[in-house]
Amino acid sequence: MKLIFKPILKYYLKLIAKLVLVIYRPKIIVVAGSVNKTFVRDEIRRALEKAGKSVRANPRNFNTEIGLPLAILNISSGYGSYREWRPVIGKAFRAIWQKNYPDYLVLELGVSSAGDMRYLLSIVAPEISVVTDITQRYLESFPSMNDLVAEYIYLAKKTKKNGAVILNGDNLRVKELTKKAIAPVQYFGETCEKEDDWRIVGIERTGVGQVVEIRHKEKTETFDVPRFGRHHAFALAAALAVDTIINK
């Protein structure tokens, strides 16, 4: 039953999600990488909301072949229950006629096996892609690190030419994606050196979070981040890059 149901469901959701994207034409920002996707996604969503944009991000872990279309359609999952899926199928169809569809979608893409990125990018065409990091996480499903990196190379190639690819400049493997990108590339991280980069120059822990200093185009700005951990500084830097591109 599962063998038949899942492919049909997958195809059905993909079809409707693509139709919805054609109808409403939101600008798509995708966030991919082995770690820190959720925090980067949320930081970008926050930044765009703050700038007054109409924006939606995928909820929770809706970042896979089934989850991504659900995120685009803004409906919940039936998880493993056939009974729970029945209403979802109806809701998916009704989602074609949505009110107030957002202008921007910030979508996290989950890649855990070879070919995942190709499938996800057969649903969405990103204007801006952010690659947070590439680590050995999820490597077990790939023959080698090169095969895992190939997933992100595909993303770099498929990001629209007039969009942007935003890369973690501290990770050499991520940085190498530059060569494959057809869109302009920007970097964020602690070791970036170019004027255009989003360089994290300071992270200071306080009682209620962190004070993060980010340098871009010879200007250093200080941000209060009510969270703990370096990864939030990275998320902020990536979000600033996206926000600046969208609002320029």
Partner: protein, 395 residues
């Protein structure tokens, strides 16, 4: 010989289970085990991990980074902000987290204050760490609330921490924000750690509001160590997986102990925990709904035995802790029975009605004169157990 273990005792709950196992038709309201199986979504997550061949090796000592990242996200939803890389540790059940915490933050000879009645194993772990448990009784008249003046009086220069379970086992009650803030003030005043075991936090029957945790207050970061287990919320007692979080300065010390105790939590269980956090919300809702029904049922059945018991209605967890109103029940001769009302009563109803409960004294001196009944069991079992007790006590 056995200097370290000679004062430890096998959990009374396990002792009662052992006694109960001699009765083939026993109905056990003793063990705090959910009657449900682990939800399907969690099992499927584990199947996938097994299929992908990712469970055979150790994880990093603090746990799989993807799980910790997920935990950080979940904590943030509840207003608690912790760095998954440095401040969250996945443990082999919460008791391992508690053990690692106590070994990290105390020195032999220190005292740890425990509100009681409370979970039986706290005493053992504190003793194992070479410390002294100091019991401070809760006020049954006020719905098992803290009496802060008693805590202040119990604090000495050896006191290192106050260790509480919220919602509390065995009383099934929740400490209010005001009470917890009072504890926090004491901790600040006397430079103490606060260990908050919140394994039952997802079962809230009446208010519908999430419980307040001191871990939500940034100013208490360097004092609070909070623990959560997947065992109860997701019916995963056998998987032995939980987590703790604390400020980096504390977590790095706890991690050293955790690493030497277990290296890492079982990796297969860590994948199960990921499934729980990713997809288990609906199951929690279902369990909560079922436990509320069972709570109402057990209270209704207790009301019919009002000549035997009085009780504070539980608002969380799946326990009720009724007071035994009389001490002159005739259970006949009870073999190997310690000289205490709660023991006699618990063994009495075990032998006469084949209903297993836990004597209240197991949860601290203030628990004497009570028994703990779990409504983690099915409604059918609860009804059968009370039918049997009614036969003995009448209605």
């Amino acid at each position: 010989m056995f200097e370290r273990t000679k004062n430890l005792r096998l959990s009374v709950i396990k002792q009662m289970e052992l006694r109960a196992s001699r009765f083939p038709d026993v109905i056990s309201l003793a063990q705090g085990v959910p009657s449900f199986d682990t939800p399907e979504c969690i099992k499927r997550r584990v199947e996938l991990a097994l299929k992908n061949g990712v469970v055979a090796k150790y994880s990093l000592s603090p746990g799989l980074s993807e799980l910790r990242e997920l935990i950080e996200t979940k904590l943030a939803e509840d207003g608690m902000f912790y760095d998954f890389e440095k401040e969250i540790i996945v443990t082999a059940g919460s008791i391992e987290g508690i053990t690692a915490t106590l070994f990290a933050i105390t020195n032999p000879g220190d005292e740890v204050i425990i509100p009681e009645p409370t979970y039986t194993s706290y005493r053992e772990v504190i003793l194992l760490a070479g410390c002294q448990p100091v019991f401070v009784s809760l006020d049954e008249e006020k719905g098992w609330a803290f009496e802060l003046e008693k805590y202040e009086a119990a604090i000495t220069e050896k006191t290192k921490a106050i260790f509480y379970c919220n919602p509390n086992n065995p009383t099934g009650t929740i400490y209010s924000k005001e009470q917890l803030m009072g504890l926090a003030k004491l901790a600040e005043k006397h430079n103490l750690y606060l260990i908050s075991d919140e394994v039952y936090k997802d079962f809230i029957f009446d208010s519908g509001e999430k419980i307040f945790s001191l871990a939500q207050l940034p100013e208490l970061r360097k004092r609070v160590i909070r623990l959560f287990s997947f065992s109860k919320s997701f019916a995963m007692t056998g998987w032995r997986v939980a987590y703790l979080h604390a400020d980096e300065s504390i977590a790095r010390e706890i991690l050293k102990v955790h690493d030497s105790l277990v290296t890492c939590a079982p990796v297969i269980s860590q994948y199960a925990a990921m499934g729980a956090l990713e997809m288990g919300d609906k199951d929690i809702e279902f369990f909560n709904h079922e436990y509320k029904k069972r709570r109402d049922l057990i209270c209704c059945r207790l009301d019919k035995l009002s000549h035997v018991f009085s009780y504070v209605k539980p608002t969380s967890a799946y326990y009720v802790f009724p007071r035994i109103l009389k001490n002159d029940f005739d259970f006949g001769e009870l073999k190997d029975c310690p000289d205490s009302l709660s023991w006699r009563f618990a063994i009495g109803i075990l032998e006469r009605a084949q209903v297993a409960t836990v004597p209240g004294v197991a949860f601290g001196p203030g628990g004497e004169g009570h028994i703990r009944m779990s409504f983690g069991r099915s409604e059918k079992d609860i009804n059968r157990a009370f039918d049997r007790m009614e036969k003995i006590f009448g209605t």
